[in-house]
Amino acid sequence: MTALLATEGLTMRFGGVVAVDNVSLAVSERELRCLIGPNGAGKSTFFRCLTGQYRPTAGRILWRGRDITGLEPHAIARLGIGIKTQVPSLFDGLTAIEGVTLAVRRKHGEREARRRAMAALERLGIGALSGALVGLLAHGQRQLVELATVVAPEPDLIILDEPTAGMSAEETAGTAALIREMNRDHAVIVVEHDMQFIRAIASGITVFHQGRVLVEDCAAKVLADPRVHDVYLGRPPTPQVVVPA
């Protein structure tokens, strides 16, 4: 079966630095995949290659078998890919409803777009903020508005770069539940390094290390893998011997 999104030998070099090194990865329809790794592992560069912000130095990106390497971000979004960036990328001068409506307006008329935008904001639990100027919202609220912007057009694949960055514990738990819910209808790729969040959404995990794929498996196996502990989580503390009094 053809993967929804696949990369073949994807490589991104910046001069002598190889940020992404020969990465091959495939995500199928309605799959939930987490990309994890320590800082500098190449996750964000890989994300930018997938979303058209960087043109890869080598390799291919395939969407349902079609080569989309080098397409502009707007052309990639038009394929049916919803993208959330690490730092909330929003229209600060517009209200939440205006911004989310724009996300849907490309496919629908004004009234229907507004209805869908409102539905997306309510789905995220921020319907009450629809009239608020986005630039004045708190960081966590901005993350949710961006998620609403991504979800509203109902894309086939949603790519989220650190969706819980700056969120409270409550908002993080809510976002984990929301991502699981989104995954019922859409394939989702989550780039994250919050392990609690990764455990909460318990999905297939690809671990990046020094630009390469180190391990790729289900959450339970990856989190128990000693190589992952070595490069990312650190060695578990040696059990202390408790001397009975």
């Binding site: 979303t51 971000p73 707007h74 929003l90 229209f91 724009l102 307006r105 057009p153």
Partner: protein, 327 residues
Amino acid sequence: MEDRRTLLQAVLALLAGGVAAWWLPQVLELFAIINATVYVAMALLALSLALVWGFGGILCFGQAAFFGLGGYAYAVAALNLPDTTYAIPIALGVPMLAAAALGYVMFYGKVSDVYMGVITLTVTLILFNFINSTAGEEWRIGAAPLGGFNGIPSTPPLNMPGDPGTALTPEQIFVIAVACLAGCYAACKLILRSHFGRVVTAIRENELRAALLGYNVRLHKLAIFAIGGLMAGLAGMLFANCVFVSPTMFSLAYSGQVIIWVMVGGVGTLLGPIIGAMLLQALTAWAGTLPEVNPNLILGLVLVVAVLAIPRGLQPTMATLLRRRAP
């Protein structure tokens, strides 16, 4: 509700234009009417930059290039064609195509904002120097000598459509200028309320997000830049009809002044730059009558004071004050 408000504002602009066009020619003398037409043409130039900069987010330091191209295209076409009415589409088309060509190079060439300012400024200065060096007899297009530093003093005014023998009077040209300004203001309002206009405004807010929603950022920027070029060209054509075309239309002074008009009027507004252009022109003209004062010094002083005292510009500040006073 918003759409109704926009429609109302557009209708009000047309009505205000109608009243000004009907009333002013009755009370003003000929010289004042010609001067008023220049003011209206400059206000239209300011409106073009207000759209491109205030809503498209493109700081064009060379809006005067399209203003000059509109004027020169009109003058050359009017001298070559039997009916000056046919020169109108040429006067609009040439600056619009020039803006589209320059915009294509800048937006598709991924030129950053700072360099965009430098490039637009350079283009207008190149045109200024080029037109200045066309004094020789060999520099003519058909029946139109480009005239170098002297410009084209023999620029014929518009005539009655279909009747080349009847040239329009300065009063009639003033009416046309006011109609063009009111019409362009109304058109800008409607453009900005349309889906295209909202996308353009969204791109100004955040280019990356607009692209990630599937909007072609470069194409939208190119389109709004070309529309701005067309409007500046129309202003140039009106200017050519009440004064005459000369290289100063491309000068650094015009390029700089139009930015000051928009800043003082309020970036991100349409009415503010129109008011700013008219007020500052009146002020500069008055300062020009004072033998001991340099008008540019006054203009610079106004800019400094405006930036410090009303950083958002005239229109937003006035609107805030009026809202506070309202019960």
